[in-house]
Assembly symmetry: C2
Homo-oligomer: 614 residues x 2
């Protein structure tokens, strides 16, 4: 995935997307799909740009494109004209001039609008917002009364303010004169942060900035209602799928770090723009943003250094929650708005895990021994036992989400989500019951579990002989799941490494607490991926310990819930800070038993149940 | 003076000034002198670019130039090579390629360094700085102690902070590791605004941002000592010499307002850079800036709208002092530093008048009826009487400072500073006793006074006949003062308008207070121009009322003194705000008697002394 995206490799053209009113640069070294992803234009692209899924289809209504391997110079205008009447896969073409791009309706990642009339979609958050608004009416300035605009407004405020955002004040003069000398004054704590027309909306945005995907939620801060949500790929993926690649890029020099920071900012701006458009608002109506991510993502977004985070002793620059003016990061929302970043725990255990703990607190507050696990490219684990919280992070990689897997893809139509054995043959189920075009995360897990339970692989993960569904693909053995869809030896290895990392994390935390897996009274699996896996498969491959199934709960994107709670409520922000302080960070990689446990967990042998600790 | 400086009129080249390590753009429509002025490069240029004074001399050591009227294409490389060995007047040449420019030593406006060993130059300010520094030492991070960098520092602080500048925190990680885990923490009020190496300097800069000139002062905030000072032309002059021209430009659109704002910011950045260079510091050592100017200058710098300020009822957007992060304005000083703008009174009576009142408070605090006047392109007047302060502003224009005067120039060598009559002939004295090349402000005033007292003009200001020093210049009568140096009818008119505006302001304020000129116990004349005028001349032409000479005091740049007091002391900031609140703004232009008084004061008839009010 890591590749040059600096656009220095040739001329850059502009792509205009009229449907979402965005214009982005596209370098000669990039496909239109890659440019879109890197700039937060939300083309689905389920297969990740391999050209197999057809979910990144676009129509070029103006401009000229060429396909990989073609000589752009040899295509005549007739051919270009012909192409302009055909839908193409955006991952297979590059712009050779400025282009106007129409995205197929099904390829434009949907903004999910919560409709207040449809009970199930509407979410009402407990409201105690950091930003409060008061409408103020003042007397018109005359030659007899030449008091300054701001003095008039301050005198009319119900309570005084300690500070005033001088950048936000720029709007006041126009607002007063355009609205009959009325203005809505926004207050954040003891600071006046905005002066808007009385009828303007009061919106907030919560962002779960994952290593691979970014999810954003638009909330009405006057009602607590969730208005819309949207997920896109994190464009930083262009600089590496895993955190270490990105950290290594960022520490090259200040410019490289700025590239990564701006990439995250571009994504958040794009999310704000698309979400607001869907509810007839503008990003300037957003007066508060809350963001969570792992420690590295949060550091990169804030422009904090990450060098010390990527090597022992793995120290964060900042652990506590951070408030920063959104404009200081280049976010184009209300000029005086703050962005709040969730508190970290330590190492890579960041704000997204703290918000997951915040969202699930009602389940573990009673003191039962609880394990909360958020499976992702980085997997965070907290063990809550005897009033203490031990937290750790495992570099599980993107394999469990379908990344770095030969035929991996996002959870979209045609993705294999279930794999099993019937009558000795491997069978699959795809999303939408379409012909299979790849495997999404839950399918990957099922595939390995099926290989394991069906004894199609040995204890080390090597393919066994003689099964009719195992064949040679590209000269290597693979489980064949459809036309051009397979699960190979390399894919098995990737999942083995992921499950070994996670299982090792669980074991080391249990050892630290001096308890065994069976002592875990409830096992909460958070995260979008975790919501869809078959827990039995996860147990079968050793990813999860073999506890009774009723101890597991799959709660979905708890980090997203938690960051929305922080957005809507000052009390929730304070609670998140308390939880983060309560967590004790455990650095796994330097534990004496780490290597031993990890190597053991790569294979599939069962560990003797009664053994204490490791 | 108003002209296009947008650089859209042709190719733009880069001018590199190695002496001050600056690189600036130069548009095809600009002379090198104009480009330098517009970008805050401090070439003297006493005659304002008329080509008469030779104080803007430069050597082009690389690159190619042409002279006005030449066809750039026809100059061959030989000619360019020849030019590279000759000093040229920068106001007479344009760049036709990127150039390296060496400024003649006498043409580079000097940074005045205060030498602590020379008692008279060193100024020690009463110190109560807004920014305080504390050096903190923390334990090194280890695998056993992985607390975040910021948490370590906060725990070691002598007192807690309510807020932390998240942008400034970016430096912390590097500083700790480069300085043996020590850091100097800067605090501004209840906010941590900086994390620097323990040995870094703690500098502040005070800026008096006048309509025509900007003066800056570098102060050591640990000792209160003034380290250096520097004056340059305000580059906004390129958009108009007077405030109304600039306001009219700024209200065209947001881009135009941004041009003016950025021009002021460029000037302040250039001042910071040159001042710091002179004391072996860097602009990042500047942790606090205080700025004063008239209301319009302060609004333009802060990006506040000025439309409502330029028309009745002449209302400021903001009257009180403003604190804004310097980075929000694009200032390249310490990342967390604030810029403080002095409080306004109202109309165009701005922070520079309040600071002049602050600096002279020791003179008027005793309650004597006092008039404080700061003569400039805009002249501000305050009448302190019976515990009240009445304040007004007069649009006197740049004539009294030598601007818009045929042979006007800055106070520099060769400028006529005194004019008188000896044995019936007009005689002059120049600065440095050099041959006259123009008139500076005090010379302009003397020239008119001499014409008046010598009866070379009549009561309306028209030249009389028959004097040997009056001759035709360009077909019009003029007082001849040297080779190519004269004072013409148009110049007389400009000074008449200026003195009428100022005198009218004084009369209307007296009328408002119900007193007469003779009731003024002390008359304080502030401002750089006011420091050099001959009060007798000012009385002779009717600019000042005919009070006994011992009631006048010429105090020099009181605004500069006052803004340095605000920079160095929180108590002075508070006092300035109190003074501003105490002032009652009087709008002169809408007074019933304004027109009548103004028209009367254009001429030279003496008003009957006993008349009350008008």
């Amino acid at each position: 995935m890591t590749q040059s995206v600096t656009g220095k490799a040739g001329p850059t053209h502009l792509l205009h997307f009229p449907q979402i009113d965005r214009e982005i640069p596209s370098g000669a070294a990039e496909t239109i799909f890659q440019s879109a992803r890197r700039n937060g234009v939300r083309i689905v692209g389920a297969c990740g740009g391999r050209g197999t899924c057809g979910t990144c289809t676009v129509l070029i209504t103006e401009g000229r494109i060429h396909r990989d391997g073609e000589d752009a110079e040899t295509i005549d205008e007739n051919e270009h004209a012909k192409r302009r009447r055909k839908w193409v896969r955006s991952c297979q073409v590059r712009a050779v001039s400025n282009c106007v791009v129409e995205v197929a309706a099904r390829s434009l990642a949907p903004v999910v609008r919560a409709d207040v009339h449809m009970g199930e979609a509407a979410e009402m958050l407990a409201l105690d917002a950091a930003v409060a608004a008061a409408i103020v009416h003042v007397a018109e300035a005359t030659l007899e009364d030449t008091a300054a605009d701001l003095d008039r407004v301050i005198a009319a405020l119900p309570q005084p303010a300690a500070r005033i955002d001088a950048v936000a004040v720029r709007a006041l003069t126009g607002v007063l004169r355009d609205n009959g000398w009325s203005v809505r004054v926004l207050r954040h704590g003891d600071e006046l942060i905005g002066f808007t027309r009385p009828g303007a909306r009061l919106l907030g945005m919560a962002v779960d900035l994952g290593t691979t995907n970014a999810a954003a939620f638009l909330v009405d801060l006057e009602t607590g209602m969730r208005l819309a949500s949207l997920g896109i790929e994190n464009p930083q993926v262009a600089w590496g799928g895993d955190l270490i690649s990105r950290i290594n890029y960022a520490i090259r020099d200040a410019e490289a770090a700025a590239e990564l920071r701006e990439s995250a900012v571009t994504a958040i701006n794009a999310l704000a723009s698309d979400l607001c458009r869907s509810v007839d608002a503008t990003p300037h109506d957003i007066v508060d943003i809350a963001v969570c991510g792992n420690t590295a993502m949060q550091h990169l977004l804030l422009g904090l250094p990450v060098r010390q985070l990527g090597r022992a002793p793995f120290v964060a620059a900042v652990r506590d929650a951070v408030e920063i003016k959104a404009r200081d990061l280049g976010l184009a929302i209300a000029p005086g708005a703050y962005l709040t970043v969730a508190p970290n725990v330590g190492g890579f255990v960041g704000g997204d895990h703290v918000t997951a703990l915040l969202a699930t607190e009602d389940r573990w507050r009673d003191g039962r021994t609880t394990l909360v696990m958020d499976i992702g490219t980085n997997t965070e684990i907290s063990l809550i036992h005897n009033g203490a919280i031990l937290s750790a992070s495992c570099p599980s990689g993107p394999a469990l989400e379908g990344g770095h897997i030969s035929c991996g893809m996002r959870a979209a139509e045609g993705a294999i989500e279930r794999v099993g054995i019937e009558n000795g043959r491997v069978v699959t189920r795809t999303i939408g019951n379409k012909p299979p075009i790849g495997l999404c995360g839950s399918g990957v897990l099922d595939a390995l579990a099926t290989l394991r339970t069906g004894k199609l692989i040995d204890d080390t993960g090597r393919f066994a002989d003689g099964h009719p569904d195992i064949a040679e693909v590209n000269g290597k053995r693979a489980l064949v799941l459809g036309d051009d869809v397979y699960f190979g030896q390399h894919d098995i290895r990737a999942v083995q490494l992921a499950k070994a990392a996670i299982r090792t994390g669980v074991e080391l935390l249990l050892a630290q607490a001096g308890i065994e897996a069976d002592d875990i009274a409830q096992f909460i699996i958070a995260g979008a991926f975790g919501a869809y896996i078959d827990v039995r498969s996860a147990i079968a491959i050793g990813l999860l310990p073999a506890l009774p199934l009723d101890r597991f709960e799959q709660v979905g994107n708890a980090a997203g819930v938690g960051i929305r709670m922080m957005l809507a409520s000052r009390a929730a922000r304070e609670r998140a800070r308390e939880i983060a302080r309560q967590c004790r960070y455990v650095e796994l990689s330097t534990k004496a038993d780490f290597q031993k446990s990890f190597l053991f967990n790569i294979g599939f042998r069962t560990r003797p149940h009664s053994r204490r600790g490791l």
